[in-house]
Symmetry: C2
Amino acid sequence: MSESQKRPTVAALLNVRRGREAIEFYKKALGAVERFCTESPDGAVVAQLAIGESEFWLADESPEHENFSPEALGGSTARMVLVADDPDAVFESAVAAGAHCVSPMADQRYGWRVGRVADPFGHHWEIGKPL
Amino acid sequence: MSESQKRPTVAALLNVRRGREAIEFYKKALGAVERFCTESPDGAVVAQLAIGESEFWLADESPEHENFSPEALGGSTARMVLVADDPDAVFESAVAAGAHCVSPMADQRYGWRVGRVADPFGHHWEIGKPL
C-alpha cells in the first residue's frame, strides 16, 4: 500500500509460474513499476507492482496453499481491467512483448473502447477507456 | 474508474457464479459499495464495486469467453489483498457473512498481521495490515 492511499485498500495478487519473468513482462508490456519484491531461497517471488497509482501483486504459485496459476488450472478466474488514456498503445505494447490478442481493440456498444489480451502467464487484461 | 483517479488505473474483475448474490455478499462481508451494475436479460451481471477508494469488478462467468469462476476450475488464480486499519474486524465480518477461514488472523514473520478467507464464490481474500 502506498502512503498516499487511505485504508481500506484492495489489490489483486496474480498467481503465476516463472514469477521473476512475469515481473519483467509486466514492466515491459504494461509499463508497470516494481515497488517491492522478495525472493525465497528456491527462487519463488512475491512482488508488488504498480501501474500508475494502482497496485497489484504477483507471486509464484503454491498449489499446496491453494494458490493456482492459470497454467495449472487451464484458465483464469479473474481478469485485470486496465484503463489508459491511449489504450491502443498499451495494447500494442502488450502484444509486442508477447501477449496474445484475445479480442482486438474496438469500440464497444456499452460505450468503451476495449481490447483484450492474454499474457504469457495466462492472465487476461482488458485494456480500454470510456468513450 | 472514479473521477478522482488518474489514468492509468488497474482493477481486478472477479468471475463468479450467482453474481447478484456475490454483490450482496461483498457489501455485507467487506463493506463494499456498489458503484455500477448492469444486468443482462438472462440475469448475468457486471458490477463495479469499491472498498474505500479501491475499485474492483465482478461478473457472472462466461466460459465461452474464457471467463471462468473458481467453482468451474476448482480453484482461483488470483487472490485479493485487503488492507484495513482493523483487519480482525473485517475478517470476523467476512466469516460471519459466510466466508470460510483458510488461515486465522496472525502476526506473520514478514511483518504483517494477516488472515485469509475463501468467500462463498471461491475467491480468496488476504485481510491484513503492516505491523
